[in-house]
């Protein structure tokens, strides 16, 4: 008798827990894979494909499946660090076979040479080129990620990739850390207060 009641009680609680879990899994279902989204948030969204994947999201998916984190040149050192921190991996050097970390660049079409073939428009992963067939094309500079993908398809080689100029709006201060002693001697400077 005792055994039966014990079994009944345990079955009863188990079914309640099961029902709760079942309800929770429906009610609080997460869309997509959260770790992939977190990785994707770190990736620079250049969509350049230098990692060998057609865009940042697919590479994020690949990283989640165990691919190396050092295959993103635009993300560079900082990106690898952030990924390593997120995934609790070791920081490794950038895979040189993917490319080098360069300063930010932007595509510029030499408009008088453009023949209006629309090939670059089709290649642009972020729709940053406007134009129509047999009409001049141009790049929306603010939306261009500098991915280089529009350069090879151009039949007349009229796309340049200059570095983004430093202006009053985007200049950065230099790091004062370069000017410090990293490991100080036991010297305490006594400052003369005038």
């Amino acid at each position: 008798m005792e055994i039966i009641s014990a079994i009944l009680i345990i079955t009863f609680f188990a079914s309640i827990c099961g029902a709760l879990l079942g309800f929770a899994s429906v009610k609080f279902k997460t869309e997509g894979d959260p770790i992939v989204d977190q990785i994707n948030a770190i990736l620079p969204q250049t969509q350049c494909g230098q990692c060998g994947h057609p865009g940042c999201k697919p590479y994020a998916q690949a990283i989640a499946n165990g691919e190396a984190i050092n295959r993103c040149p635009p993300g560079g050192e900082a990106g690898i660090k952030a990924l390593a921190e997120l995934l609790e991996l070791e920081v490794i050097e950038l895979d040189e076979s993917c490319g080098e970390e360069t300063k930010l660049r932007v595509a510029v079409i030499r408009e008088e040479e453009c023949i209006g073939c629309t090939k670059c428009i089709q290649a642009c992963p972020v729709d940053a080129i406007v134009g129509a067939a047999k009409l001049m094309h141009t790049v929306i500079g603010s939306e261009c990620t500098g991915c280089d993908l529009c350069v090879p398809p151009c039949p007349v080689d009229c796309i340049d990739m200059p570095f983004v100029e430093t202006t009053m709006n985007n200049w950065r201060r230099t790091n004062p850390k370069q000017n410090t002693i990293q490991h100080p001697e036991s010297v305490i400077a006594i400052k003369q207060i005038s």
Binding site: T46, K57, T167, R173, K191
Partner: protein
């Protein structure tokens, strides 16, 4: 100590932290105001949000003193610039103007006509002194906008924008006459010589924003200025005209302490209120204006002059005749060096502004600007770089003494900010309220390890801003990429559907053909039906 009267009272509140650096004010505040002889060439930087279309002048054009150089239309956020003296536009080109980035800025270069006397140029159409009383608020603000007035305490924020956001919102106008940084005496001398004009400017501002009180905040190291101001206020109160504004005007004297002249610090000193994070003084019903700005407002509204000159303190141990001079904007430092017989070989660094917050420059071709309230020419030993710990290429490490925390006027933890800046922990820095730092330099000043703390904070602020922009850009790129993917997928499915439809259509067509190869069968059937119908009708 100055005796309290009905007009004068002493500040009841205080700010945390602060320092008491040696003032060096007596170097320049002994001499009366003078005009600096006009320079041959003036460099007027153009506000950087403008396109070429907006220039009213081109190279080779003659300009008269006070002429507007830009066409602003109704652009509320733009700033007007003027030709300070008569002359010819020599060029419109990029020039080094001493921006912290070191980047050259688009500037209008004017070759001046030397024959004219500087001081005579500062008059144009005179309006009766009380004429402004009848003007609408919008007209007054428009005049200030056209005159290109900015906050002349150092921040150079366009005054018309500040006024516009404060109209009918504020009850108190606080006039900033603290001038707490060492060396600077231009506000002091301006009040001693022109307190009536400053008061008039304050009255105009009070009318624009609808303020009921005017509080002059001033440090107790300027007794003569306080007396002059008191006299001006008494005189105003004793001569009520028909347009007399009923206002409470008071002078509040604060103990000399740096940085009590910061906008938020001044408000705290005078009213005991703290401006909350991410809020503005207008949220506390307060507007703060510097005395030089008010003088400029008076000049514009009452005398129709545009802002082309300002009072600048020229001081330092290398200046033979230190003092306060009216200087045209755009005057290159080299002109000041030659006119005031400064031995330029001895100048190690020129400071534009005060020694603690000002800008250190070494190029003498840099022009003075609207925000340049002081120029310090010092020999090496008194260089601001020493005060700011920038003179050495290396510094010793933080010993965690906590001096900086007691000096910080915003009650931040400078030490924590330093460690986090150094290790680039941006999120932690934001949690520690890095962006509330006013970069006053009090922490660097007291640091026994001589760490240029402010440089770390500026670097961190710049990096955080950069990263935020970058994050926004990558977010945009992500959205655009995803939208493109969706669009491509949609086009693909649409094509597929279309292809299937045409295939089906073709298939059904061929099926039909299979059953009736030439369409003869159906033709015969139709003919038979027609005959049948006819017969039925006939019968």
């Amino acid at each position: 100590m100055i005796k309290e009267t009905k007009i004068i009272s002493h500040a009841k509140y205080h700010i945390p932290g602060g320092i008491h650096p040696k003032e060096f004010k007596s170097i320049s505040n002994q001499n009366a105001i003078e005009w600096l002889p006009q320079a041959n060439e003036l460099i007027i930087p153009v506000p950087n949000n403008l396109t070429d279309k907006q220039f009213l002048v081109s190279v080779g054009d003659s300009v008269v003193a006070g002429q507007s150089l830009l066409s602003l239309d109704d652009d509320l956020f733009s700033l007007q610039i003027h030709a300070p003296c008569a002359g010819v536009v020599l060029a419109i080109t990029h020039k080094n103007i001493g921006h912290p980035s070191g980047l050259p800025m688009l500037s209008v270069i004017i070759k001046t006509e030397l024959s004219r006397n500087v001081s005579s140029e500062k008059t144009s159409s005179l309006v009766s002194p009380d004429g402004w009383m009848n003007l609408q608020v919008e007209e007054l603000i428009q005049k200030i906008h056209d005159s290109g007035i900015v906050g002349m305490g150092g921040a150079a924020f366009p005054t018309h924008i500040k006024l516009n956001t404060s109209v009918n919102r504020v009850t108190t106008l606080i006039v900033n006459a603290m001038e707490c940084e060492p060396y600077i005496t231009c506000d002091d001398r301006l009040l001693r010589g022109h307190s009536t004009e400053v008061l008039q400017g304050a009255l105009i501002t009070a009318k624009i924003v609808g303020a009921k009180n005017i509080l002059f905040g001033i440090e107790d190291n300027k007794p003569q200025a306080i007396t002059c101001l008191e006299n001006a206020i008494t005189q105003y109160k004793n001569t009520p005209g028909e347009n007399h504004l009923t206002l409470e005007i008071r002078i509040i004297i604060a103990k000399t302490k740096y940085p009590s002249g910061g906008e938020k610090q001044l408000i705290q000193l005078l009213t005991g209120l703290e401006v909350p994070k991410n809020k503005y003084p207008a949220d506390l019903d307060i507007i703060v204006q510097n005395v030089a700005t008010l003088y400029a407002i008076n000049d514009t509204i009452c005398h129709g002059k545009t802002l082309t000159h300002r009072l600048v303190t020229i001081t330092g141990d290398l200046v033979k005749k230190p003092g306060n001079y009216w200087i045209a904007f755009g005057t290159p430092l080299s002109h000041i060096v030659s006119t005031l017989e400064i031995v330029s070989q001895q100048v190690s660094d020129i400071i534009l502004g005060g020694p603690l917050m000002g800008q250190i420059v070494s190029d003498v071709n840099i022009p003075t600007q609207k925000s340049t309230n002081c120029i310090i020419f010092n020999a090496d030993i008194f260089s601001a770089k020493n005060i700011r710990n920038e003179s050495k290429t290396v510094h010793t490490e933080c010993i965690r003494c906590g001096e900086c925390e007691t000096a910080c006027p915003v009650s931040l933890l400078p030490q924590q900010l330093y460690w986090f800046s150094k290790s680039e922990q941006w999120e932690a820095l934001e949690e520690q309220n890095l962006f509330d730092c006013i970069e006053c330099g009090a922490c660097s000043y007291v640091c026994p390890s001589e760490i240029p703390l402010v440089n770390y904070y500026r670097y961190a602020k710049s990096e955080i801003k950069y990263l935020k922009v970058k994050q926004q850009q990558s977010e945009n790129a992500k959205i655009r990429f995803e939208n493109r993917e969706k669009r491509l997928a949609r086009i693909k499915t649409e094509r597929e559907e279309k292809r299937q439809k045409t295939a089906e259509a073709r298939k059904s067509a061929t099926n039909k053909l299979d059953q009736d190869p030439d369409g003869k069968k159906s033709a015969i059937e139709a003919a038979l039906k027609r005959v049948k119908d006819k017969k039925e009708k006939q019968s």
